[in-house]
């Protein structure tokens, strides 16, 4: 039962074949069974989830109207505030933090009658690409337990891949939904900046952060996006724009379809051309991406080589913009009003320094240092402001691309899931694993990663599709064209 998609589970409930309680118990069992090895969850809501499921069943029995996700368990990255429930952002500094309010997305999920089954592991404050930076535990990839699930939403991606839940919420600041989705063989989408309210999302890089769905297939992802997207007056940057019913049009292919393939993401087949950072691309992934492009060609799409000339600078821009914002966002963790306070200190300043020194992990400290440095007097022009200018050039590259293409397609990540511990000693190497995903956050555009094959070693490969701002519907429909022709999304990891 746990291998079913959310849509199938909804149908079976409607048909009376399954109850919310039975579904929830099944997923809780699955978590109990596999999480000791996977470590995807930081907290599991056993009692509350079951109780909630029974309430939904009662509602159904009484013939009351039910929400779009009625009776469906969902896992949420532990970076969204849940009222009265511990929310840690994967950090020790928030180990006892209990928010007095629900994030907007949590409210939307509750209103849709979804059942919060647990909060998932993540890189501390979403800073990382492997979920190894969690202060609590290392999450393992369900396809290969010695490998990372990617990050920073690694817990959510692993939980869906391992069928511990059919739906999960992640957040994406530089690829943190799409890259773990690719590593775990599932669908993960980062909506356009402003599509989903960030209210209640513990901030990392405020101008880049977005919340998005993780699911087995596109119908489930579309359904979840439908529920969480939309205006929220509590987030100034959340647009007041109608939310299309993504599930309705999903099976309508886009015709005609022009697909741009940046030479910087995928070297031209002849081996000539810029190649750029694409040169670091794993050959097995390159093959899988070309196969996916062939699928589109066979459906009548035009494949157009394009260039995003400033994309090679995206990582440098990102590590200035995101860390600068983070250095300010994370200043509030000082042991004064909430969060952990150091036990021994001499005076206020020492208390703050010690609380932060002990409460933050190495990567978080590194990024705070980098962001502080980039904003400090004497450096702000050369680093932070320079980065914002190149950011505009990156956005302009995309604007030009979408003037002539419907979508831009390439790999989600340059390599399949890497081994646990493989990149922890070299921060820069870790940063480079986000090379293809980061530009979308800088430009504010939507992006999705869908399964498009496996390596010989059996590791999933992700195909990334990027679109112009607020074209999520088109993106989902283009992705669905590929999904209909393939069965990668039906594969489940061989857990035993």
């Amino acid at each position: 039962m746990t291998d079913l998609t959310a849509t199938e589970l909804l149908q079976k409930q409607a048909a009376g074949d399954l109850t919310a309680a039975s579904i929830t118990s099944a997923f809780l069992n699955r978590i109990r069974q596999y999480d000791p090895a996977l470590r995807a969850f930081l907290h599991v809501e056993e009692a509350a989830a079951l109780q909630h499921a029974e309430a939904i069943d009662a509602k159904r029995k009484a013939g009351q109207p039910l929400g779009k996700l009625a009776g469906l368990p969902i896992a949420v990255k532990d970076v969204l505030c849940t009222k009265g429930r511990r929310t840690t952002a994967g950090s020790k500094i928030l180990q006892n933090f209990v928010p007095p309010y629900d994030a907007h997305v949590i409210t939307r999920l509750k209103d849709a009658d979804a059942i919060l089954i647990g909060k998932t592991n993540m890189d501390e404050f979403a800073m990382g690409s492997s979920t190894e930076n969690s202060a609590y535990q290392v999450t393992h990839n369900p396809w290969a337990l010695d490998r990372t699930p990617g990050g920073s939403s690694g817990g959510s991606a692993a939980a869906v891949a391992a069928s511990q839940t059919s739906l999960a919420i992640g957040t994406d600041t530089g690829g943190s939904i799409r890259q773990p989705a690719a590593f775990c063989g599932i669908v993960g989408m980062k909506p356009s900046y402003g599509r989903v309210s960030r209210f209640g999302l513990i901030a990392y890089g405020s101008s880049l952060d977005q919340i998005g769905p993780l699911a087995h297939d596109l119908r489930d992802a579309a359904l979840l996006l439908e529920v969480i997207a939309g205006h929220d007056p509590r987030d100034s940057t959340c647009v007041n724009m109608p939310v299309p019913e993504y599930t309705k049009m999903l099976d309508q292919p886009i015709k005609p379809l022009t697909i741009g393939v940046p030479v910087e993401f995928l070297p031209s087949p002849s081996g000539s051309g810029a190649g750029g950072e694409g040169a670091g691309l794993d050959p097995e992934i390159e093959t899988a991406i070309r196969a996916a492009l062939n699928v589109y060609e066979s459906l009548g799409a035009t494949i157009k080589p394009i260039s995003l000339p400033h994309s090679p600078y995206a990582i440098a821009v990102y590590y200035l913009v995101a860390t600068a914002e983070a250095s300010s966002n994370l200043a509030r963790y000082d042991g004064v009003h909430f969060g952990q306070r150091a036990e021994k200190f001499a005076g206020l300043i020492d208390m703050v320094k010690k609380s932060r020194g002990a409460g933050f992990g190495t990567e978080v400290k590194r990024r705070i240092m980098l962001g502080t440095y980039a904003l400090s007097s004497g450096y702000i022009d050369a680093y932070y402001l320079k980065a914002l200018k190149v950011r505009r050039l990156i956005r302009q590259d995309f604007d030009r691309a979408f003037a002539e293409c419907d979508v831009v397609i390439g790999p989600t990540a340059p390599t399949p899931a890497f081994k646990i511990g493989e990149k922890t000693a070299d921060p820069l190497a870790m940063y480079l694993s986000d090379i293809y995903t980061i530009s979308a956050n800088l430009a504010g555009i939507p992006g999705i990663s869908i399964p498009c094959g496996f390596t010989k070693a059996g590791l999933p490969i992700g195909l990334q599709i990027l679109g112009a701002p607020f074209t999520e519907e088109k993106l989902l429909r283009v992705a669905r064209m590929h999904e209909r022709e393939t069965d990668w999304h039906k594969r489940r990891p061989p857990l035993e």
Partner: protein, 539 residues
């Protein structure tokens, strides 16, 4: 050193009159129990986001337009990063490089006349919380109340164009009047809704400096040997904080100016400070050289700015810390807020809604009613509603001077006694105008007129009150002449005194007439008859 120039710039923070905070729906009411007016947003809890108050922005805009500022068509918000326990996010949302307004001015009235003080900028920002320190136990913990956190503030920064403590006081009074009239702020200093920091230093003419010891060996260099073109030297700027009353502003600046003058003399005499003749700058139209001191490596370096606190109790400023270098606030654009645009149509609407501002009002009152600058100033200071009342009094009587006297003396004291606002005044202005007309027509004396006024407060018109009191002015010359003659006859001593040149002695004779008529004799007629009769009376 008596001829130095005092250079003062004021940084004023006023709390905008909104019901709720700048970025959340918490109340801005003063004096609520500690930490009872906070929410996740103003506590800076993880995940929360600010949303700008439209009302706060509109009020700020009104104020800036009234201050003659140019308004930016595009403005944005920035984070000012610094750590302090009253600032839960450890950054303050403020405006840095693109404030919504800049380059304005405020006209003030001082004993020396009208002056226009430049305004560098006015910007919108959030307030911090309140810290309670136990003064008696330095080592004990501090307490934090976040009720005030996130309250909308307008920061108004003047140019260093204020030249005396008296002008600083006038500047704040004028600003307070303007903002109260506009309903932008209630400017209650004791509640912290108007706060003031002052930057002050002196520009001292070189020739005015006395060097007590410049001829002694090893003492500081002779003045003549400074190769400076500057006519003035500038003392280090002191930022005086904790100015909680308008009187405090004036007192603190007066104290600080004198303190700086003495400090300069002492430090030059002792060879601690030196004049850096190699560096001069132009301040307005004259040359200024800075003060330096010897650093640990032996070279001369500038004496840095310092912060001082004003102690109302001791009447002294206490230097708190020297700013060795500018704080590094690491400003960055606030990513959680969007820019705000202001178009020409909005600006015109704001301008149209401002109404008459105090400075323009004073000019008009003088021109239209031939009032003195002082009367116009005092009237204007009572606020627009009061001025409107005054103008409604003038209308039926046509005597602005008397209307001014009655409103500023009798009416104002009535309002003060009864703790009433002009809007709740029990006396309609037309009635007061009518009283003035009656006084002029009948010659009712001041004392009787005040009685009438007292009755009018109970709702009577002037005529009704006069009738009720039975005041019938005696203006008949025949009747009065008879009385005057009797008075002269009855007061030989006063007549004799008058003849000796004691003009005041006539009052006693006049008093007799008044007593006989129970005060209802028309003063002017009595005066005229009395003078005539006294002339005719042999000495």
């Amino acid at each position: 050193m008596t001829t130095y120039r005092t250079i003062i710039g004021l940084e004023v923070h006023v709390q905008l009159l909104t019901k709720t905070k700048l970025f959340c729906g918490c109340s801005t009411t003063f004096g609520l129990p500690p930490n009872s007016a906070t929410c996740p947003v103003c506590c800076g809890l993880p995940g929360t986001l600010p949303v700008m108050s439209r009302r706060a922005f509109q009020l700020a805009l009104q104020a800036a337009v009234a201050l003659n500022c140019s308004i930016a068509s595009f403005t944005k918000w920035d984070r000012k990063n610094y750590y302090y326990p009253d600032l839960p996010k450890n950054y303050q949302i403020s405006q840095y490089d693109l404030p919504f307004s800049s380059e304005g001015s405020l006209e003030i009235e001082t004993s020396a006349g009208t002056r226009r003080i430049g305004i560098i900028r006015a910007h919108l920002e959030e307030d911090a919380g309140k810290m309670l320190h136990d003064e008696y136990a330095a080592a004990s913990d501090s307490l934090v109340d976040l009720n005030r956190t996130g309250t909308p503030l307008l920061e108004i920064v003047s140019k260093p164009e204020i030249e005396t403590p008296e002008e600083a006081k006038a500047y704040i009074e004028e600003l307070r009047l303007l903002l109260r009239e506009l309903g932008v702020s209630d400017c209650e200093m004791q509640e912290g809704s108007l706060r003031c920091d002052a930057n002050i230093n002196l520009h001292v003419p070189l020739r005015g400096i006395r060097f007590q010891s410049c001829d002694e060996p090893g003492a500081i260099t002779r003045l003549e040997s400074y190769a400076t073109n500057a006519a003035f030297i500038a003392t280090p700027i002191i930022e005086v904080k904790n100015l909680n009353t308008i009187r405090g502003v004036e007192r603190a600046l007066k104290y600080e100016a004198e303190r700086q003058a003495k400090e300069l003399q002492d430090n030059l005499d002792a060879g601690v400070w030196h004049i850096d003749g190699s560096r001069t700058s132009v301040f307005r139209d004259y040359q200024v050289s800075p003060i330096t001191r010897r650093k640990s490596d032996g070279t001369l370096g500038p004496v840095s700015k310092a912060t001082a606190g004003w102690d109302e109790r001791t009447g002294r400023t206490e230097i708190q810390r020297r700013k060795e270098e500018a704080s590094d606030y690491r400003y960055l654009p606030e990513p959680d807020l969007l820019p705000v645009t202001v178009d020409e149509a909005t600006l015109q609407r704001v301008r149209a809604q401002l109404g008459e501002l105090p400075a323009a009002q004073r000019v008009r009152l003088q021109a239209q009613y031939a009032l003195t600058a002082n009367d116009a100033g005092v009237l204007s200071r009572q606020g627009r509603a009061f001025v409107a009342y005054f103008e409604a009094v003038v209308k039926p009587c046509g005597d602005a001077k008397e209307a001014c006297n009655w409103t500023l003396n009798d009416l104002l004291s009535t309002l003060n006694e009864r703790k009433l606002d002009i809007s709740a005044c029990p006396l309609p202005p037309e009635n007061l105008g009518e009283l003035i007309r009656e006084i002029k027509a009948t010659g009712l004396n001041k004392q009787r007129a005040r009685e009438v006024y007292g009755r009018m407060l109970d709702g009577l018109t002037a005529k009704e009150a006069i009738d009720k009191l039975g005041f019938k002015v005696v203006a008949d010359e025949g009747q009065l002449l008879d009385l005057v003659r009797r008075a002269i006859a009855a007061n030989p001593k006063a007549v004799a005194d008058f003849k000796k040149g004691k003009v005041k002695a006539a009052d006693a004779i006049k008093g007799f007439v008044m007593r006989e008529t129970k005060g209802m004799a028309k003063t002017e007629v009595v005066q005229e008859l009395l003078m005539r009769e006294l002339q005719n009376t042999p000495g």
